[in-house]
Symmetry: C2
Subunit: 513 residues, 2 copies
């Protein structure tokens, strides 16, 4: 009725009010109204959180400066390319040898389409985005303990699992075994829907046929002229799929943060870092290793030394501080935070995670296996393989994400030098792609516990209920920000939303709003 | 064992032999060995089938010429852009007013990643491809008879349907109702897998929770700092989903020819036509309307007139003919084909299909609804809406595929002038996107039954078993080719495979191989 009587835009607003249109905590550029009257803010860390805070605060009239430990901005928004040199904790040094145009994003590598803040800053700062292929039905699922260790195509396991559970349920309903669970009214429709959803035949069975091959793939593809009309493929029994545990990753790519459409910056994730840096470069002091943070009721002073080994202490002071230093690092910096904040800092531990980028002489996954982007899953310690969503069909060398693991699977990578991590990635990856050894060119391996500026991948709370709220409070004149101060940990969106929330509260404090 | 003893490449070959690696009827560029000794071939039609045949035959040493009805090559591989003028049967003339860079592909618009022949020609001829977003979890499913006509997000219906059927089956198995259908050994694993697959809680229930919101979306998204930790969204009951029939399109995007990754040419589908045309342009006579085909045991002569209304009859003769004229048109051309071929020609009818391209002043589907590419499905006669997989996040005007229907749904579009088709597309589309009327700029509508050079969308056999094999036979010196002479009807892959198969047989006839 609304639509008919009052026109489309009223109708649209009404629908949005009903929760029908997209909702998000981020609803567009932040508006900090009211004069900060020369208030100064010291931002610690030039990652996305720090740069977001600095950019918006300056825009609102604040005097801002940023201290950054590294020689460049971005933090975990980081891309390694040929010619880059990376030295990790423990002194292991890697020189990246990737060909021109190839890269590895050791940190974030995808931008979900519901991460509205990241997308909006990309748009405002001119960062070009391209689709990231998350799910590829032609990629593999692999379990060393199943199918004699042979990887299976995702599409086959996906169609066969869905078909056979649909068959079981449809038969059970049809045989009236579920009368207590399903009303008579629903039963007929449920069976009809399962027939469609599971690609079942008229006997409610999921069988080898042209119909099921239309989802799981053919044994012989349909051709032209006098070629085959298509030879249906055998299905894999539910028992084998269950035993092989290949159902484990069937919906991994369908979580809200991985659903298609999902994006990546053209040229590498740090195109975002570079775009932010361009906006706030004049505010950043690089190579500044903070050694002490002292707050008071009226301001904050940070002491720092040259990160490249200087001993001369310098200080930076401001009326307020936005501290985006990861708690893993912050806990080792002398400070006078209150007991609640100190407890919060101690409560957060940093997840272990590794990524290995492997460059191969040619894109055999495309040329031999017809896999264009997407992810293969395995129970080996590399956890997954991801195929590049760039330069499809090109002839040159390509970089695979040859390992991305976390938790226990990643520990054995952390403990060894980079070349051994690469060797492990080759060893396990070869079980999925036997072409590995012939085609390998070079690689780079990042173990996040050894990354000097984070000492881990992302913050995890031991007792979030007890400490998270305290970490959000202003401690004298300091507010914390970063992915660890968000409900989207590990995501760039969390870092940005956290920063926006912190400066909103800072601004309210300043203006008394 | 093979892998361990004989090295990676042997292992790979062995796996390919087991059907593990990708198989296709197309295994790479065709090789026509043996000297055709000056044999000439007349190709009728410069669509993809005709141009493939011409290109490969000339390469193999044949003398080739092509007669083409239109002023340009490509046939159904066709793109409409601003400035194009299209006159359909019945005289309706449309001048396309799309902004620079925008387009509609009235015919094929996607290239599945298992269409190896199309992909290979794109690579060889330098056609750039980009990902096509087929499934978008944030797009809509819509039924005028359900949910008070309000469109629902695909992700909600998808997660809720899957979750609730998994719950039913898991409970049934857990309550031992399915003992006749499931072995004890499988039962425990099946329940475990359904818990994961359906996102069920420990009671095997699919309920409103952070876990299910992680797939279907949140009521309030998780934020940063002191913002919400996320408010779970209500689930839609299985009964409502069943009644609303919104399960109908849950797996449409997962068929073998739509599975991710799937591609489109950068700039429009006819970039493929243009690339082929560049290779064979010198062989083509344009605006040649064939009026008669006369075959004999030693050759074929086609009579033609100027398609723009000339009456002067000209002839083209050759030792052989590859005829790619759609049977819908061929049946109206005077010929001396044998009884079997004539029966085959009569057996094929051409599917009705319409496409409407709508240009809007801004990309409201991205800006308001956060839908980037992909497809919304509806039970209205437009059948679906597809959002462009190009120029994401741009500010300029964008073109939606505002209707793509076939069969009965398309009939009412065929019958009316283009402006009325556009009006219908606006009327139905407004039910999904209320912004339509405010944002509409211009449109173009193609009803395939009115396309002069095909008189329909693609060939369908009434009695394939009785006639297809005859249509593949050489009739005197003519071989048929095109999507209708393939087991991949309507697809460009079918057209190309058909042509390759035809010229292989032609070449065998010539060389006596």
């Amino acid at each position: 009725m609304i639509g008919i009587t009052a026109g489309a835009s009223v109708m649209y607003s009404a629908m949005a009010g009903m929760g029908y249109a997209g909702t998000s905590d981020y609803t567009g550029p932040i508006k900090l109204e009211g004069d900060p009257k020369g208030t100064s803010v010291l931002v610690l860390g030039a990652g996305l959180a720090g740069m977001t805070a600095a950019y918006e605060l300056r825009k609102a009239g604040y005097k801002v400066q940023i201290l950054e430990y590294r020689e460049k901005a971005g933090g975990r928004c980081w891309t390694l390319r040929g010619g880059d040199v990376y030295t990790e904790l423990g002194g292991f040094k890697q020189e990246v040898k990737f060909a021109e145009g190839n890269y590895l994003n050791p940190g974030p590598w995808r931008i979900p389409s519901d991460h509205y803040a990241v997308l909006d800053y990309c748009k405002r700062f001119g960062v070009k985005l391209q689709p990231f292929i998350q799910i590829n039905y032609n990629a593999f699922v692999h379990n060393t303990e199943a199918f004699e260790g042979k990887p299976q195509r995702f599409k086959e396991i996906q169609a066969d699992y869905r078909g056979q559970i649909a068959e079981l349920l449809a038969k059970a309903v049809d045989q009236k075994k579920l009368d207590e669970l399903v009303t008579d009214e629903d039963a007929a429709l449920l069976v009809e829907s399962l027939k469609k959803y599971g690609v079942l035949d008229d006997k409610l069975e999921y069988v080898k046929s042209a119909a099921t091959s239309g989802y799981r793939g053919w044994k012989v593809d349909p051709g032209g002229g006098t070629q085959s009309a298509g030879e249906p493929s055998d299905i894999i029994s539910l028992a084998d799929i269950l035993k092989g545990r290949l159902w484990k990753d069937l919906i991994t790519g369908e979580s809200i943060d991985h659903q298609a459409a999902i994006f990546q910056p053209v040229g590498g994730m740090d195109m975002i870092a570079q775009a932010f840096e361009k906006e706030v470069k004049d505010l950043i002091t690089y190579n500044a290793k903070v050694t002490k943070i002292e707050g008071s009721d009226s301001g904050v002073t940070a002491t720092w030394v040259d990160a490249n080994g200087g001993t001369e202490e310098k200080t930076a002071s401001a009326d307020y501080c936005i501290c985006t230093i990861p708690f893993s690092v912050l806990g080792q910096i002398e400070n006078n935070f209150g007991a609640e904040m100190s407890a919060a800092i101690d409560d957060v531990y940093y997840a272990s995670s590794i990524k290995v980028g492997l460059e191969f002489k040619r894109r055999f996954w495309e040329q031999d296996d017809h896999i264009y982007g997407g992810i293969s899953y395995t129970n080996t310690p590399i956890t997954l393989l991801s195929y590049p969503s760039t330069d499809f069909f090109s002839d040159g060398p390509g970089v695979l994400l040859g390992a991305y693991s976390w938790g226990a699977a990643s520990y054995q990578f952390n403990a060894v030098p980079a070349e051994e991590r690469i060797e492990k990635a080759l060893e396990f990856g070869s079980q999925i792609h036997p072409q590995y050894r012939d085609e390998f060119s070079n690689g780079v391996a990042v173990a996040w516990h050894r990354v000097p500026w984070t000492l881990g991948c992302y913050g995890e709370w031991r007792d979030m209920e007890g400490n998270y709220a305290n970490a959000c409070k202003m401690d004298q004149r300091t507010l914390m920000a970063g992915e660890h101060i968000s409900h989207l940990p590990a995501w760039q969106e969390g870092a940005i939303l956290s920063a926006l929330n912190a400066i909103e509260r800072l601004h309210a404090h300043v203006t008394g709003a």
